[in-house]
Every structure is written in C-alpha cells, then in structure tokens.
Symmetry: C2
Subunit: 420 residues, 2 copies
C-alpha cells in the first residue's frame, strides 16, 4: 500500500467504526475513558521519555520559540491533567440520542429531532500533546470517530499517547479504528486526507492563517475553523473606569498567549483623558508594549510607539497592545467588525442602551458587558470541556464542546401515511 | 469597474446591509414582505412577458428537457403562489433574537445564547424562478442579506422578479442592498463571488453533482449542500404488505421528479415472493420502468431490465425504480449507507426492534417508519416554508427553513469579573 491508499484505508475504517460507535452504550464509552485515564498515569515514564525525544529534536533542530517548547513539554503534572480531563469527560452527560424536538403533524405523523454524532471528525492541531487525549476523549464520548493530526514537532509525544489510548480501546466494545493518528512525518498524508470527503464529515483546524488557508483551499469536506482571536475591549465614556482598568489589565496581562486575550483597546474620546494615562502606565509596568493611535499618543504625553494600520489586524499573542481613541460607539462597533476576528469582544459601560446596541451590532461569537474576554472557554462557560473555540458562524460558534460535536436527524413515525 | 470589482462591491454592500438588517424590527420586515407580495401580483403582466423571453430562448436554443421548460414557465397561478409564499413568510415567527439558552456561572456571569442571522447568504439555483422570491422572503425575514444566482435559462424571469422586489424595499427601512442578483449571463461572476469569503458567510447550492462540485472546489466560504436524493424504502418481512404497497407506490409515482421520491426499493427475501410480483406489476401499470437485481428478476418471472451497479447510485428523478432483494436488515442498512445520499429513507415494518435498529444505524437526514419519503419538505414538516433540503450534516440537515438560516452568539453580562 502506498501512502495515499494507507490514508484512504484509515479513513474508511474510521467511518466503519463511527457507524458501530452509534450503538455503543454510555456506560461502555465511560469505561473506555476511565481505562484510558488510568493507562496514561501508568505509562507516565514512557510518555515523558518519548516527549524528551521531541524536546531534544526541538532544541537541536529549527529555532523553535520558547513559548512553543513550553507548550510541547510534558511533565508529571501535564499527564495528570490529561488523565483528569478524560475522567471529567466521562462524567459529562452523553449528548447522543437526546430528543431535541418532537411534534405531531395534522396527518398523524410524529416527527422527532434527535441528536446524533457527526461521524468522522478530523482534528488538526499544533504543539500541545494534551490535545491528542482531550480530543479523543470528547470525540468518543459523543460517539464520533476521530482522525488526529498533530504537529511534526510532537511526533513522538503524540505517537506515545495515541498508542496507549488505542491499546485500552481493545479492552472495550469500541472498535480500535474509532481513533486514528495521521503520520505527521510525511506532510503528504494530510493532503490525502483532505481529499476524502466520502469518509470524513468535518475537519477542525486549530491554528494560524497558514494552516486555515491550506485546509480551506484543499478540501471539499466541511471545515469548522478555530482561527485567531483579535479581541477588543471598548471603554465607553459611561464606563466605571476602575472596573474598566481591572478588566483591561486582566484581558491583556493574565495570559497573553491565548486567543481570548485582548489585542486592541478602544477608548471613547470622552473617557480617554481620565483613563488612558493611568492604564498605559500600568500596562507598561506589567511589561506591555503599547502601540497607540495619534490621539492616544497625544493624550498619554510620553513616548509610545505609533500603531500602524497593520496593528489593528494583528493577533499578537504577546505582551503588546494596540490602543485607539474612538469618537463614538458606532466607530467602536465599526472598528471591531472590520478588524476583529469575530471571536470575543467587550464593552465596559454602565449605560444599558449603549450595551444593547453593542451586543446587537458587533458580529462576534462572544460579546461581553463589563467582564474580561478571557472567559471565552468551554470550561469557563460550564461546558465541562472544549475541543476549541470556533471562529466560524456555521454549525458551532465560540466554545465547542460535546453538543457541538453532534448533529441531528429527523425520525418520522407513521401508520402508512402517503403524500396527497 | 470591471466585473470582479462589480461583484466585490455587490458583496460588500450586501454585508453592510446585513449589519443594518440586524436592527430592523419584525413589523418592518413583515411590511416589506407584504409590499413585495402585492407588487408581484400588480406586475403580473410584466412578469409573464419577461418569462416569455426565457421560454422563447429555451424553445429556440439548446435542447432543454420538457421537465425544465415546465419548471421555467410562469403562469398567473405561479405568481399567485409566489405572492402567497411571501405572505406566509410574513406570518412566521421571527427567529432573530430568540433566547436559546441562558445560564448563570458560579462567578456571577450571566451567559445568554441568542439566535442571530447568519449575515450574507448566497443561494445558487436552477430554472424555477419562484425560488428568487421565496429565498428573498426567507432571508429577509431572518434578517439575512441575500445574494442570488439563478440559471442562465431564467435570466429575464429572475431579473424581473428581482427588480419588482427591490423597488419595494425602497419604501421600507430595509436597505435595498440587502438583496442582490448576480448577473447570470456571465459565468465568471459566480466564480468571483466564490472568492469573497470576507463578505459572504455561506453558499447554498441547490443542484446536481456538477454545481455542487464546482462550488466546493472553488470556495473557502462554508457551503451547505442541497444535493441529490437517492431515497430508499426497505420492505421488511415484518411489514404490513398492503401498507408497504401503498407507501412504495406513493414514494415513486406521486411526483417522481423531486428529491424526496424513492429511487431504490429494497425488499427482504422473506417478503419478496409475496410482495414483488404484485408491486412490480402495479408499478409497470403506472408507467414505471423497473431495474431489478438477479433475485428480483427470478421472482417476478417476467422480463424486466437488469439493474447495473451504477443503478444503485443513481437519482433518476423519473419513472424508473431500481429493486433489490436483501437477505437481512443489516444488508439493507449497509446498502443505504453505501449507495444512498443521506437524504430520506424508509423502513416498512411492524417490528419495533427492527425499526429502532434502522433508525439508529442509517445515517440520513430523515428516516421514516411506515410513511412515504415524500414528506421530507419544510411545509410538510410544519416549518411553514423551506429554502431547500440540506444533504449536509453540519449546521442544517434535512428541510431548511427560518431557524436554519440563523446562527447564534453568546452574550456575557458581568459586573467587573476577571479571570483568576
């Protein structure tokens, strides 16, 4: 078998497994998740030594960033968290089979709308090896087969996690082909997978522009993009400025490397004089580089970098903040709709009417009034888990967890009804 | 402006209009729909004379099928129905703003999940000019901007309908750019539109393999496919055979040219001797050409055409039926999952356990027990309208109406909460 045939066989067997998975009981799925959690802890030594191979390669090979190496590193703690995530997933309500709607038609037909798994879910991600077990757990709990593609930099780590989890499946009624790991040492493998719309129901790419573009340009399979977060906080002239200060500091500084961190702060002109000098000083103390618009730089009265047009469209994922003074709520809304990534945006205001207009007019997955955008997260939303944050509008928007890994079908019960 | 710039400007203005549409009241949207209905009736003469131009071109030009010309023809009755569809849409509940879910988190955050329009919806369709006004009505009622692309064969008809509807918009608060009609006399226009993922939120192609393939291969915009219906009816050995006879005849004969008509009849071996000879005779009397598997041909004992492998994958949309005798429920399920189009499939049985297995294992949008597949239709389901039947699994599956033209966003209300 050449590589293309191998990938096709993989996807085909995943589809077959997915169709069997539909009938596997919740108890059996939970049993599998618990076995997997136990196995990860048991094989901790093996996992850490395989992870070392990736870390060594990263250290010797191309110049990986410190942040990437941190995300790649597996410690005892990481493995405990992975096991815990599987146990938490076992505790979540099984979404499959949920009666979403039910209605009777005048002709006597009973129509039920039932939640069902999507089928075969392909997930593409980078660096963090824990995604391998988290995603497998969520897919299995929702009766989906999973085809995973991790990054080349996590080749050994992902391979080790996958092998351990797959071995456990053989002790359950879940077919082992329900989980598949794409070879990540041959980039052609992914290209072949993207051609298999006959077997794969959805591709979920989690990553940057290059990955998202590659996927959407090379597949006919539906895609749910987990793209960047260019998140804004708009501080209105009707804001409680102490609250605004606290929210902005948190949204920028608490964990700058994630998609729900603030990248651009918009400040109403009538609040700018009171608000900007203080927050800029505190941001700078916290190590944040400020890039301001012309008015910001005038008001702050100390040398800060000028924001270029490109800054408004940039996800820094770092201690950098672009700041713009706007003349109206409308200008703020327009700026966010034009430059944002439709992820998470916040207004700080005490004016309900203004808040309402912001919530209605900004076209983003998650909109906040008086709270940090950092809360956009499946766990924080109470979903108990997350496969990621969808920046798409179709099927799933914002935090994606078990329900978002399902679709539905209509069951129609008759007594011989025919159409007139 | 060249054509590409013209299409870009069109999509851009549609997006701008969509963002304004979010704030237009239900009353105002209904007013527009009623004005449009009235205008269609008022301009009946103009519509029929423009439609004549298309019919003349069709008669003189390429060899169009009788069925296509029938679908293309606009009569007084057609126009009345179009107007009625707009009035019916006005009566439907406005989906925008519906509170889909609401929950409070331990930290005090209130999270609301709110139904919102998708944004800019592109709909691509063929021949039937009534789709132009039906789709515009549904999109406007759900606060979406609509970009339509009809077939070249309906150039004058679609242009006339569009002009009448757009003129009415200028009497309302809805921006006229909320509806757009792509030039259908230059095929490049559609190609340009498919590149505009920045402005267009979804493409809904309603049509055959060639159209669906062209769209999915040429766009990064999410697509909801309205593809073919290869619908099956499986007659079990536990069926009430009189009921099965009635259901199969209806599913094949009542309106063979539509996507929810039966294309393949599967018959359990133990029912075949009793069931097949009678139904085949009655199908033939009704003008249906039968294409049977080897066993079917042996059992029926009169000359019928042999089904080829290709028949199992064919949507005839005509008075043709492929017939296969299967040895088990599992074989029936497997045949449908392999050869069907995941649209609508039926089992006729009195055995509840068997029905349950069929409903669980067949991977289609609509599954029937003891009723004709012809009921897969937004109106028949009680949705009051339909934009079409989605054969995709993501976002919308089966009949698509107002709710399926929406997505959601999360509104998070805080009092200064920040992430720990």
């Amino acid at each position: 078998m050449n590589l293309e045939q191998q990938i096709t066989a993989m996807a085909k067997s995943a589809q077959k497994a997915a169709r069997q998975l539909v009938s596997v009981s919740t108890t059996e799925k939970n049993k599998a998740l618990k076995l997997m959690a136990k196995a990860l802890l048991f094989h901790q030594g093996f996992l850490i030594s395989e992870n070392k191979k990736d870390l060594t390669a990263a250290a010797h090979g191309q110049s990986y960033s410190k942040a990437l190496i941190e995300r790649l590193t597996m410690r005892e703690e990481t493995i405990k968290e992975m096991a815990q995530c599987l146990l938490d997933t076992a505790k979540l309500k099984d979404p499959v089979g949920e009666l979403m709607d039910s209605f009777k038609r005048p002709n006597g037909l009973l129509i039920q709308k039932i939640r069902v798994p999507i089928g075969v879910v392909a997930i593409v991600y980078e660096s963090r090896p824990n995604v391998t077990s988290d995603a497998i757990g969520l897919c299995l709990k929702s009766s989906n087969a999973a085809i995973l593609k991790g990054g080349r930099e996590a080749l050994y780590s992902n391979g080790a996690i996958f092998k351990i989890l797959r071995d456990e499946l053989s002790k359950t009624e879940i077919p082992i082909d329900a989980i598949q790991l794409l070879p990540s040492d041959d980039h052609r493998a992914f290209g072949f997978l993207l051609k298999l719309q006959k077997y794969v129901d959805v591709v979920i790419p989690r990553g940057g522009e290059e990955l998202i573009r590659f996927v959407t340009e090379n597949t006919r399979i539906p895609v749910i993009k987990h793209y960047q977060g260019i998140c804004h906080t708009y501080v209105s002239e009707h804001a409680d400025l102490n609250m605004a200060h606290k929210i902005c500091m948190n949204a920028k500084v608490q964990k700058p490397g994630v998609c729900n961190a603030m990248e651009t702060m918009l400040v109403a002109k009538d609040a700018a004089l009171r608000f900007l000098p203080v927050i800029v000083e505190d941001m700078q103390k916290a190590g944040v580089e400020i890039r301001g618009c012309r008015l910001t730089r005038t008001i702050v009265k100390k040398p800060i970098k000028a924001a270029s047009e490109k800054d408004w469209d940039t996800e820094y994922l770092d201690l950098i903040l672009s700041v713009k003074v706007v003349h109206s709520l409308e200008e703020a809304i327009d700026h966010i709709n034009t430059h944002g990534s439709h992820h998470s945006d916040c207004i700080v205001t005490e004016d309900k009417k203004e808040a309402k207009q912001f919530l209605q007019s900004v076209d983003s997955a998650c909109l906040y009034v008086n709270a940090s955008t950092r809360f956009t997260d499946g766990h924080q939303f109470g979903f108990g888990a997350e496969i990621g944050i969808s920046t798409d509008k179709l099927h799933a928007r914002g935090p994606m967890a078990l329900n978002e890994l399902t679709t539905y079908k209509y069951l129609v019960f008759g007594k011989g009804q025919v159409r007139q």
